[in-house]
Amino acid sequence: MTGSRSGSLPRYILQRVLLVIPMIWVILTLVFIVLRVAPGDPVSAALGGKLNDEALDQRREALGFNDPLIQQYWDYLTSVARLDFGTTFSDNQTVLHVVRDNGGATLSLTLAAFLIALLVGIPLGLVAGRYRDTFPDVAIRIFGILSYAAPIFFVGFLLQAYVAKPLGLPTSGSAGVETVYYMERDGLNRTHILLFDVFLSGNSYYIEDALKHLLLPAVTLGLLICGVFIRLVRVNILQTMQSDYVEAAEARGIAQGRVTRRHAFRNALVPVITVIGLQFALLLGGAVLTESTFNWPGLGQKLVEYINDRDYVAVQGIVTIFAIAVVLISLLVDIVNALIDPRVRY
């Protein structure tokens, strides 16, 4: 074993990138099975009462729903490969267009929430783990459990009922109507992501307006994963604090603070990175509820609308895009992990 040296990092990354293809294939297949095979006929479900039988059949034929399943499956895979996710029934837009118009709002919301959760959750988790079973630990853990246990819409309800009014904060929309109007009128919607656009515009009024609208939803969503972060970081700290190498470092007389920072905290955060990547999935789920609660014009709210319209094509398209996003994020997390942890060789 004397000669066993690290496998090469580029090779690992290449392998990992190649692995994305089968993963996407599996997930697409699952989406297809669940949304296309299980429910039967999407056209009559969506448009049942609205069109006559003949028209329905024409729509079916046009959309390929009369083809054999294997043909539909192939069509689905090839159209996804061409980044064509279909056209919605209910408002007759391409799914890609829907995502462009509403995805930005979801992205702003999730990023802000993620930032809040990171900035609050990780330090609190570190403190709780380092000072196990002391008062700060107990307090932080209770906070963590409560913030996870409180449903988003309940937190939203409480914030709207007791916080929004006294502070004069808006309870809906990703920015005031005026801001949205002027941003579009003046052609300032460069990225189609309102939060970025207001910053790019450099206009402090717009920025303030957008941030005000963002505050409550982001805090609501951020609290949810904040609890998860606290728990995760704390458990990992507990484990590394007990590890043999921490004791060995102490036996070498390395200063306590340094041992904690360099050996315990650092090593504890490596597995956390993996899980933080997974939390992004939780965040996307939570975003649906947050958007409904605060009437936030994001993709999640759009998804719920399509579900209520029983618009299968739209649901399938949006779900497919979410799925691909998740696979890509897990790829990113694995690569970051390999860069940090030398033991990840294969």
Binding site: M1, A251, I254, R343
Partner: protein
């Protein structure tokens, strides 16, 4: 660094002991009561000397080693005195005794892989250790020191920037030893340093430990359950049983002429190349929450006398040097009348075996 003087060995061979433990006790609190893992242990180690500490598992030898280093789990309590460089390590402020670690007191562990931080290169381990204690050194000097220590352990400088998992078991143990030696502490505790290793690698490590005292003038407390290793690498041996050192002296002396029945039986039950018949000690070591009265070995002792079950044996000088705790050796005049008749023992069944 107030203790930097230890880097240059100035003591003469016949001088003061480096470490001098007096009546050290380490107890653990549990729901059943206190476990008396170490219960009144005294010994001295001279500069450059290796003391082997042997005993069955659970006799408190590891606890003693960690107790000296102050590496005890929560819930443990220690008392007694451990004199080092004119100061009692046990009664020092925690901060001061912590400062002794690495520069003056070092430790080598059993499982080297888990003792190295998997995310840090070997170089980082050395740099942080040296920098901690000698912050004035330049980067180049630190590197020099580290490479020197590695070289002496037979690790090529080409491996300096490797990660711990890239080394083999024996190399990792050499790394640990190099890491413990890099600041040239006066005293090192080695806790079963070869247990997880193969026979040939074990022999290599024993050889390294054996060379330590010559090349570094480091005193060593070598904790092991292998009497063979003691015979090969130690000057003196302390035999531990149920939290106490029952016999102690020069290795050749103790092994050739054991005074304590436990030492004798332990040697007899060890299977070696010269074994021609199988011997064993009946029964098992006692529960340290409630150890037997008198001599703790008396329920298993083939030579037990009436006095052994009631009175603690007295720590006396062995006939040929060293110390022993056994009524068989003496002092005769302190044994109450009738105390010398053989103790009637209950038959020890498998139910009590270790």
């Amino acid at each position: 660094m107030s203790f930097a003087t230890s880097n240059e060995p100035t003591l003469e061979p016949s001088s003061e002991p480096v470490i001098s433990a007096r009546d050290v006790r380490v107890w653990y609190g549990t729901t059943r009561g206190a476990i008396r893992a170490v219960d009144g242990v005294s010994f001295d180690i001279a500069p450059g000397e290796t003391l082997g500490l042997v005993g069955e598992s659970g006799c408190g030898k590891s606890t003693l080693g960690r107790g000296l280093m102050g590496l005890l789990p929560p819930g443990a309590k220690r008392d007694g005195e451990v004199w080092y460089d004119g100061k009692d390590v046990l009664s020092m402020r925690a901060k001061d005794s912590y400062r002794l670690r690495g520069t003056d007191l070092g430790m080598i562990f059993q499982e080297p892989l888990t003792r190295l931080n998997p995310l840090l290169r070997i170089s980082a381990h050395f740099e942080e250790t040296i920098k901690q204690h000698e912050p004035g050194l330049s980067k180049q000097q630190v590197r020099q020191r580290a490479l020197d220590a590695l070289r002496q352990m037979g690790i090529p400088p080409t491996r300096y920037r490797s990660y711990p998992h890239e080394f083999s078991g024996g190399m990792r143990q050499r790394l640990m030893i190099a890491l413990a030696l890099v600041l040239q502490p006066a005293f090192i505790v080695a806790d079963e340093p070869t247990t997880a290793l193969d026979v040939l690698v074990e022999a290599q490590i024993v050889q390294i430990l054996n060379d330590l005292r010559r090349n570094f003038r480091t005193s060593l407390l070598l904790i092991t359950h292998n009497v063979g290793i003691v015979a090969e690498a130690c000057d003196r041996v302390a035999v531990m049983y149920a939290g106490r050192i029952v016999e102690e002296g020069r290795v050749s002396d103790v092994f050739e002429n054991p005074q304590h029945p436990y030492t004798r039986e332990l040697l007899r039950s060890t299977i070696s190349l010269r074994t021609t018949g199988l011997n064993f000690i009946p029964g098992s070591p006692p529960d340290l929450v409630d150890p037997p009265d008198g001599c703790r070995f008396h329920p298993r002792c083939p030579d037990a006398m009436a006095v052994c079950a009631t009175r603690n044996p007295i720590n006396i000088e062995r006939p040929t040097g060293g110390r022993v705790e056994c009524w068989q050796v003496g002092p005769r005049d302190q044994i109450p009348s009738g105390g010398t008749r053989p103790l009637k023992q209950e038959e020890l069944a498998v139910a009590d075996e270790a």
